[in-house]
């Protein structure tokens, strides 16, 4: 009897990549059927919670924020034998999950509109305050890692820290809020707002901007001079009775250099392995090499502690 391995992950081109490049090989070498359960991070997490104690999913691929929640809620098992040349930033506590791709949070802007209007490309997080962008900025909300990063960066630039984000809230509320068209977490919606010309500037990640630019739409990514934050796409094996050892095997396959390069090419993910050599034509936006080294990695231990409170505050103060 053939076993089935359920892998939950993003839909869209990510799904296509995994289906085309990873799954066939894996099925062949392990004699197993892989079912891909597509869904965005929150959907996957909700499914994990709903099926708690009776999990169907074996491997979950989600953003780092939700991954921390998943770990906290005890959904993730331990991965044995992770490669040694993993960037430190891609590691999770106790190896309960692992980053499979590196993304930087920065600014995206519409190059065509900027050129037409004679605006200089943005360079700083402070550009979000510029009144000329009135109702033309999109920032993902706080329950999305990009939004959280925005808050953190603004706080840090103004003397705050993970432990104290008051200044961040204050700036968003007073200086930025009026410029924001929408706090939009959905990538599809984000691209639509750009394509319909309603938004020209946004906070987003390199992976997303790369694939958006790949469609031919005139956008570019900016690493703000104050620094960009790291976001990890991560994977973990799900704890369940008689968990399949193949779950870890599947995750490790995602970390193989060949897969890492595919993810970089198709999806703009910076590799998480130091040893991966990036061909120059692939690395225009992604955080690799020096850019990767300069990234700021937030302290999730502190953040997780405060996140519930920040969310409430964000909902009531910013999005109102």
């Amino acid at each position: 009897q053939q076993k089935t391995l359920y892998v939950a992950g993003y839909g869209g081109s990510f799904e296509k990549t995994i289906r085309d490049e990873v799954i066939p090989g894996f099925e062949q070498s392990n004699g197993v059927k892989v079912e891909y359960v597509a869904g965005n991070s929150t959907d996957t997490l909700a499914k994990l919670q709903a099926q708690k104690g009776n999990q169907q999913i074996d491997v979950a691929i989600v953003d780092d924020g939700p991954m921390y929640q998943a770990i906290q809620l005890g959904f993730c098992g331990k991965i044995e034998g992770l490669p040694a040349d993993l960037y430190e930033a891609a590691r999770f506590k106790d190896d309960r999950a692992v980053g499979i791709g590196l993304v930087a949070t920065g600014l995206m802007y519409n190059t065509k509109v900027f050129a037409e209007k004679g605006w200089a490309p943005p360079t700083s997080w402070n550009d979000l305050k510029d009144p000329k962008y009135q109702k033309q900025i999109v920032i993902p909300p706080i329950n999305n890692t990009y939004g959280l990063h925005t808050l953190l960066m603004l706080a840090r630039m103004n003397g705050g820290s993970e432990a104290n984000v008051d200044t961040g809230f204050k700036i968003i509320k007073t200086d930025i809020n009026s410029n924001v068209l929408a706090y939009e977490p959905s990538p599809g919606k984000m691209t639509e707002l750009f394509q319909s010309g309603q938004a020209v500037l946004a906070v987003w990640g390199t992976g997303r901007v790369q694939s958006f630019a790949n469609t031919g739409f005139p956008v570019d990514f900016v690493y703000p001079k104050e620094g960009a934050a790291t976001l990890l796409t991560s994977a973990c094996p799900i704890t369940k009775p008689n968990a399949s050892p193949l779950a870890s095997a599947f995750i490790k396959m995602l970390l193989e250099p060949k897969t890492q390069l595919v993810l970089l090419k198709d999806y703009g993910y910076g590799p998480v392995l130091k040893s991966v050599v990036v061909p120059p034509e692939l690395g225009k936006m992604a955080p690799i090499g020096e850019r990767a080294a300069k990234l700021y990695t937030p302290d999730w231990v502190i953040i997780n502690d405060k996140r519930e409170e920040w969310t409430k505050r964000w909902n009531r103060e910013v999005e109102r």
Binding site: T42, D43, L45, A46, Q49, K52, Q69, Q72, L73, G74, Q136, P141, N143, N144, L181, A182, Y183, E184, P185, G188, K189, E192, L193, S196, G197, Q198, N304, R307, E308, T311, N315, R316, E319, R320
Partner: protein, 291 residues
Amino acid sequence: MAATADTRDGRAPWALTAPALMLFVGVLVIPLAMTVMLSFHDWGQYKGIEPVFILKNWREIATDPYYAEMFWRTFRIALLTTLITAMFGAPEAYILNRMSGRWKSFFLLVILGPLLISVVARTLGWALLFGGNNGLVNKLLMSLGLIGSPLPFMFTETGMVIALAHVMMPFMVLSVWTALQRLDPQIENAALSLGAGSFTIIRRIVLPQIMPGVLSGAIIVFSLSASAFATPAIIGGRRLKVAATLAYDEFLNTLDWPLGAAVAVLLLVALVLIVVGSNALIERRYAEVFR
């Protein structure tokens, strides 16, 4: 007059509703009961859902004016949407019903059109028409000099109501149309001969008779609008949350299901009260039509 004799009436309605009741008890009541239970559970960032019985969530909803604001907006939008669909949908159904056979079915289908394409694509259409400076309608109106700056549509309550009314319209039109099928055209002629104008005929003669249809449409539209998620989320955005988007947020982003469940249960209870109340009110007001 009952077709079957009065004595046999006792069992007949139960026999007829039994299959549906069994279905509902089997697969809806239990999940709903589980959801109600859920709303009394505790939740924490680290511990997840704790199956204890506390009133924390309900207390929070009751005391934090944030929730009142969301619910107030939800019902305001649902009511406006219902009024708009009734105001435009009922006359349209009436006009449709007076068209000749082929046109009638053609336009009926045209009106069903919005439902055939997914919310995502549909709201995309709205964005292209009204979104920002590049929206077609806005461009047109601005080039005609009718408006100075683009009409705000996306991320406004007006936009939400219009987009909701657009999707909900078929529900109203079809419900009213169904009721119109039963009308005897001679009755309108009778009113005409007594000196009633078109408007009076519609108001005094047609409307009361199609009240079951309008009521059905209104109930569907009101309930759907108040519990709609996609349209408010896409058109309204996160800054104009309604009960459903609030519940969505708690369920999917925060993972605080007990709180989300409390919001949903409250919405359900409020809607049931409103719908059953207005249903009874209208059935009583137009008692003779409903028998």
